[in-house]
Symmetry: C2
Subunit: 324 residues, 2 copies
DNA sequence: CTGTTAGCGCATTCAT
DNA sequence: ATGAATGCGCTAACAG
């Protein structure tokens, strides 16, 4: 800025002003400064700016996996919204489980983000302490709790399982099975389905619980596993649409009619759920909406507009298609 | 650090040393400092550190879309590798097209990243100038060119199309069609397929070129479009496995035999390509490998180990399955 | 092994 | 509308 200023015949402060609030500088000098910037190829140093102003315009975001469309579409919506307000996103993957998350949170906080986006509501005590100590807005997204660190945006996972169980019972399927991916929230949905199914009179539920992430291959293996357990037909509750699609493929490969012999309920309402044949009956949750809602609540806090609600439940809805 | 130092009975510098290189501090004071840190909940300010040392330990990464598994898996592999060396990733979406990319590059450079990860080889002149001016390692990934800004890691997109055409001709399919997504590289693959197919004696190629991203729905619409154009059967080259899967679904919905009436070639060898039925014949490119290779080359430059090769061609391979 | 002295490049007072 | 002075919290020499 010093150099640019000299070239424009003004001081460093004036250059700073021209950049942060052009209206505070006379049009004539503004023009000279802009020319000097163009000539020198000057790029302001945001590190120094952040240090001086203690506003980094940086938002930290931590998700379990960026290759998982559920999280990446949340982050996408979130960052588009935040970018509109001038913020950039420092994104990291935590994997599933709070161990490494703690180190990551520390690393992120050292960059003095203006706010933080976290996935889920389970964080180590130390992590909570650090977050509280940072005194910045913290969003916990994709799940809800009564005691968020700051605020949470999500829905009740167990409730989706119960709703699916009730739906399936109403349809009169003779048996039920679940196929579930390894993450904690997926398990909670599946467990809730099974428990509710049995509670309202269903026969004991066959289970295929994977440790790995959801994939088509696991969906196929899941149905094979259920059949091997003596599951002879009925409804299969899957912790994600991807698994549901895999079950569909395996059912067809085995010559089983869907939904006549095997009915399938997915989760997520990904775009392909409506496109495959038969269409997948599923639980719709609007991933992008979580990202947007988190961003809006965060921006409100960043702009000091009171604290707003601390629990934002966006709910879900069962979408009936042909698979169940 | 001042506060921590007072608590530990040492000066601020000693605290700095204890953090950056514990071996430069006596075990006794180190212990005292660590205790003081624990008591105060001190989190070092990486902004100040970066400003003072001109090493931000930050890597900028720009991808067209984070919800696209192709890019997100590249970034995933890249960031895992870079994180191992202590770097964090500042990630942004550029969308497709170099317009907004320029602004994003400027925004990223203002944070003084130690290096930059770019997708593709097409960047505005102004962007190139800024990047060159920043004097940092720049990786251009997922495509290759003879004149990278710094270095590139990718493969020849047109060549994949030509290889697919040759494969398809050898198989003797009577006609060919292409279904292509909107991005420039997808187009290049599709165009190369069509041109080569016709060059080596194939009949004129029917085309369905979408402006949008690939999706199952577009794959289905693509096959419908080809059939409407008078395509009566033969091979369909798709710019991605997702489109290929959509074509497969539509073919089945229309009662067309695969590969008897409709043969399908995809691109990418995503995990589902081997799982669906019939398995998708496709062009395998190892997304994670691009990320890793980019990271390794970047780390070498960051550690000043000469400049290394500036064009890293990781190639591709055709994977034959049942669909073609 | 530890402390002192200078900046890093800006934003933020307070002047003028 | 502009400038001078000060400090954000740290690292990098240089002493001792």
């Amino acid at each position: 800025m010093e150099t640019v200023g000299r070239l424009a015949g003004v001081s460093q402060v004036t250059v700073s002003r021209a950049l942060s609030d052009p209206s505070k500088v006379s049009p004539a000098t503004l023009a000279k400064i802009q020319e000097a910037i163009a000539q020198t190829g000057f790029v302001p140093n945001a590190l120094a700016g952040a240090l001086a102003s203690s506003k980094s315009m940086l938002i930290s975001a931590l998700v379990p996996s960026i290759t998982n469309i559920v999280y990446s579409s949340m982050v996408k919506a979130f960052s588009e919204e935040m970018r509109g307000a001038g913020y950039q996103i420092l994104l990291s993957e935590t994997g599933f489980g709070p161990e490494d998350e703690e180190k990551l949170i520390a690393a992120h906080l050292s960059r003095r983000p203006d706010a933080m986006f976290l996935t889920g509501i389970h964080h180590s005590a130390q992590a909570r302490r650090m977050l509280l100590g940072a005194e910045i807005p913290v969003a916990e997204v994709w799940d809800i709790t009564d005691s968020p660190i700051d605020f949470c945006v999500g829905f009740n996972h167990a409730e989706t399982g119960r709703a699916a169980a009730e739906y399936a019972r109403r349809k009169g399927y003779p048996q039920a099975g679940v196929v579930s991916a390894g993450d904690e929230r997926a398990r909670r949905r599946s467990e809730a389905f099974a428990r509710e199914w049995e509670r309202i009179g269903g026969a004991p539920v066959a289970k295929m619980l994977f440790d790995a992430q959801a994939s088509l291959a696991n969906g196929r293996a899941g149905l094979r596993g259920l059949l091997a357990q003596g599951f002879t037909g009925g409804v299969v509750h899957c912790s994600s649409d991807l698994l549901a699609h895999g079950v569909l493929i395996e059912a067809r490969a085995q010559g089983l009619d869907v939904p006549g012999q095997i009915a399938v309920i997915g989760f997520g309402d990904q775009d392909f759920a409506a496109t495959v044949e038969p269409g997948i009956t599923t639980v719709r949750v609007d991933m992008a909406a979580f990202g947007r809602a988190a961003a809006q609540a965060m921006l409100a806090r960043l702009q000091g507009a009171g604290d707003g609600p601390s629990v934002i439940d966006l709910g879900f809805e069962i979408v009936e298609r042909q698979s169940a």
